[in-house]
Structure formats: structure tokens, C-alpha cells
Amino acid sequence: MIDESRPIFLQIAERIENDIVSGALAEEAQVPSTNEFAAFYRINPATAAKGVNRLVEDGILYKRRGIGMFVAAGARERLLARHREDFARQYVQPLVQEARKLGIGAGQLTDMIKHSYTATQDLTEGSVAQ
């Protein structure tokens, strides 16, 4: 579950972000406590707390004193915007590099993407509807 070689607090923060983007964690929903994260992922509680606090500093989560952590209003839109910005660097660049290595031209790559987009459309629409 946890990738051994990257800071774990970043991975915890990313997992929470992904859950917010996918809708698994709705806005204003309560987030598990750091101790629950620590027990679930079998990690040091201080590390889990660091991941959660990063999202609090970012304004993605907010703290209700004595109750716990909650997803901030507007968190999903902000995360979506950020993930879209990262998309080119994270996914398109490596894709193009690999395509180049294999001698796949820009036109052919575009066709492949269009084809894949149509083939998985049902799945995509399913998740948008959520």
C-alpha cells in the first residue's frame, strides 16, 4: 500500500487528496484521525499527522477543535484544478517520450488516445456521474 522509497507523509496527503477528488470523501465529511491512519497503513502516527497537517496548511482540510478534521468547502474544485495543471508533466510528457522512443508519431499517438478515450467512455461517464 505504502511505497517504501518516498516520504510517507506525502503519500498519505496524496491518498486523502485522491479520495476527495474521486468523491469518496465528500466536502464537510470527517477525515479519519491520524491514529486511525497510522493503524490502517501501519505507519508511525507522527508521520500520518504530518501528512494530514500538510492538507490543513493547504486549506484542503480544516480542524474542528476537539472533534477532528473535515474536508473544506471548495476543496475538490481546487484539487481538480491543481491536478489538471500537473497532468501534462506527470502523464503527457512521459507518454510522448516513450512514443518517440518507439517511433510513434504525433498523429498516430493522437489516434491512439482518441480510440482509448472512446473505448473507456462508459467507465469515465460512470465516475463523473458519481
Partner: protein, 315 residues
């Protein structure tokens, strides 16, 4: 909710200054200086004979150091009851009176440790399937280790040392140990010092890592800072070598025109995209791999120094 046992989590609970421990011909601890803040889980890592057990013995007053200063919970641990009854040391081959049953061992622990939780001890014994009324000398190696693990956890001592606590414990029992450790540490924060060879298994539990080799501290850093502090760069040697020039190289392997070089450096975004443009592959290095590389690099340096000293002497 968290109920910290101790009020000043950031104050150092263990401090060593230039501590040496010499046996006849060997230096088991070579000028060790450390400062350990409270309420954290520490990993004490190193090869067999590196000095882990010696260090823990000195910290628990079971052995005296040759020189330097040792302070545990503000005092010297040696023959000092006000320190010793606040710490718990579970050794690799912990000895108990032969006629004792696990239940009797728990009852004596209850007298010694002021934060002892008898219900927790019984719960753990149940999870480890320990026969409570069988005499300890009749227990299997794994069951004997389980007795130590139960005492270490249920003692809730301010500082608990686990020195390779799981000889003979199977994978399931080790997982129970890790799970209960994380859980109980969350509920009752305290200082845990865990020495282990099974680095991959414990890596995620640790907040701080101390690596010892030949009695010297080779690494003393937060686990999170260590993760991602080294990478392996693989690709055409003609491109790898210029890329790693100027970086601290921990390890180098070559195969025909290919090179794979492990460097101690967190790469910047710019460096990563430069590597991608050059067709180089960047692979992360796990804590276990890093510990192996650091230990081997320290050994190389040690033999190089020894050779240099010998040259000096022979002149």
C-alpha cells in the same frame, strides 16, 4: 484521545556525549554522541556486532562505558533506581527464572513497572496464544520471545528498548507485535527504541533512524528525511557518469556499456527532467537498501583508513 504520559515531548530523554566502550582488544562504542527526543519510535540499525546491544546495555545501566557522558531521563542510569524503574529493556535472549510461568513473569513485571497494564498484558498473551501457566523453560523459542514482547508493551515504560525481540516469532506474530506497537504508542506516546535486522518490516513504524557500524554512528536522521535522500541512476555509462559528477556516490555497478550508480542526493525537478531527456532511469532507494549501502560505504572507508595508517606506520 491521546494521553501522553510525559509532559515535555521535545526534551531529550537520552543524551550521549563522546561515549566509548572498550573491551580487551575491541572498541565496541567509538565516540558516540546522540540526543534522542522523547515520545518517538527509534530504529537502531546495524550489522551483528556493530554495537547495538552494547549501546543499549550502557543506556540501561547493564554495562558501564569506558569514557564520555551518558544521561537517561536526566540522570546516569548506572545503579540509579530513579532512572531504571522508568525504563524497560527486552533483550534478544531475555532470561527468566526457569520455574516461572508467563503469568508469574507478568506479575513480577507488574511490581516493577509503575505504568503496567495487566489487562493489556493478558490481551496480548491471548493474541500471541501464550500458554500462561506453562513453565517458561518448556516454552518454544517463539513463545519465549512473545513473553518479552508482552512485557515490553504492557510495561508502558517511559523508554522501552526492544533488542531484536522476535527470534522465533513467525510472520503473523510479528505483525501482531507491529500492529499493537503502533496502536498502543498512539494511545500512550512514549519512547521506543527498536533494534532490528528486518528493516523492510519495521521501516514504516520508525520516526527516526540511527545506524551504527563498528561502534560509530553512521546515520542519525528522521526516517522521512532519509526516504528519497538517495536514488539509483541507470542508463548508458557515457550519460550516467557526467550526470552523477559532483554527487556523493554510494555504489556503482556496470554491465557492458550500462552503468547503475546510487547517489546520496534528492534530485530536483530540473535534474529529474534532465535525466528523462538523457534517457536515464531514476529509481528510488528503500530504507533497507540505503542502510546496506551506507554500511558498506562506511566499511570501505574504514579499510581505506586502516590501510593508510598501516602505510604511515611502516614508513
Amino acid at each position: 484521545m491521546n494521553r501522553p504520559l510525559h509532559t515535555e515531548p521535545e526534551a531529550p530523554v537520552i543524551e550521549l556525549r563522546s561515549v566509548c566502550k572498550r573491551f580487551k582488544d575491541t572498541t565496541a562504542l567509538d565516540s558516540v554522541s546522540l540526543s534522542l527526543a522523547g515520545n518517538r519510535i527509534y530504529g537502531l540499525l546495524g550489522r551483528n556486532g556493530a554495537g547495538k546491544t552494547t549501546l543499549m546495555s550502557v543506556l540501561t545501566g547493564q554495562g558501564f562505558h569506558s569514557s564520555g557522558e551518558v544521561r537517561v531521563l536526566g540522570g546516569s542510569p548506572y545503579e540509579n533506581d530513579s532512572v531504571l524503574n522508568r525504563i524497560c529493556f527486552i533483550r534478544e535472549s531475555q532470561k527468566y527464572p526457569d520455574d516461572f510461568t508467563p503469568l508469574q513473569a507478568f506479575k513480577s513485571a507488574a511490581l516493577f513497572f509503575r505504568h503496567w497494564d495487566a489487562d493489556f498484558a493478558l490481551q496480548l498473551a491471548g493474541e500471541f496464544q501464550l500458554p500462561l501457566k506453562r513453565r517458561i523453560k518448556k516454552l518454544s523459542r517463539g513463545q519465549l520471545s512473545a513473553v518479552g514482547v508482552v512485557i515490553g508493551l504492557a510495561s508502558r515504560a517511559e523508554i522501552t528498548f526492544f533488542d531484536e525481540p522476535y527470534l522465533g516469532l513467525d510472520a503473523v506474530a510479528r505483525q501482531i507485535f507491529y500492529d499493537r506497537l503502533v496502536q498502543d504508542f498512539s494511545d500512550y506516546p512514549r519512547t521506543i527504541i527498536l533494534s532490528s535486522h528486518l528493516i523492510d518490516e519495521v521501516a514504516n513504524l520508525l520516526e527516526h533512524v540511527i545506524l551504527i557500524d563498528r561502534g560509530r554512528i553512521v546515520l542519525d536522521d528522521d526516517a522521512e528525511a532519509i526516504r528519497g535522500s538517495a536514488v539509483t541512476v541507470t542508463g548508458a555509462a557515457s550519460k550516467v557518469e557526467p550526470f552523477v559528477a559532483g554527487l556523493t556516490v554510494l555504489h556503482r555497478e556496470t554491465l557492458a556499456s550500462l552503468a547503475s550508480v546510487t547517489v546520496e542526493a534528492g534530485l530536483t525537478e530540473a535534474q529529474r527532467s534532465e535525466a528523462a531527456d538523457l534517457g536515464l532511469e531514476i529509481a528510488p532507494v528503500s530504507l533497507q537498501q540505503l542502510v546496506v549501502r551506507k554500511t558498506l560505504a562506511a566499511a570501505e572507508e574504514f579499510s581505506a583508513n586502516a590501510a593508510a595508517t598501516e602505510m604511515e606506520v611502516s614508513r
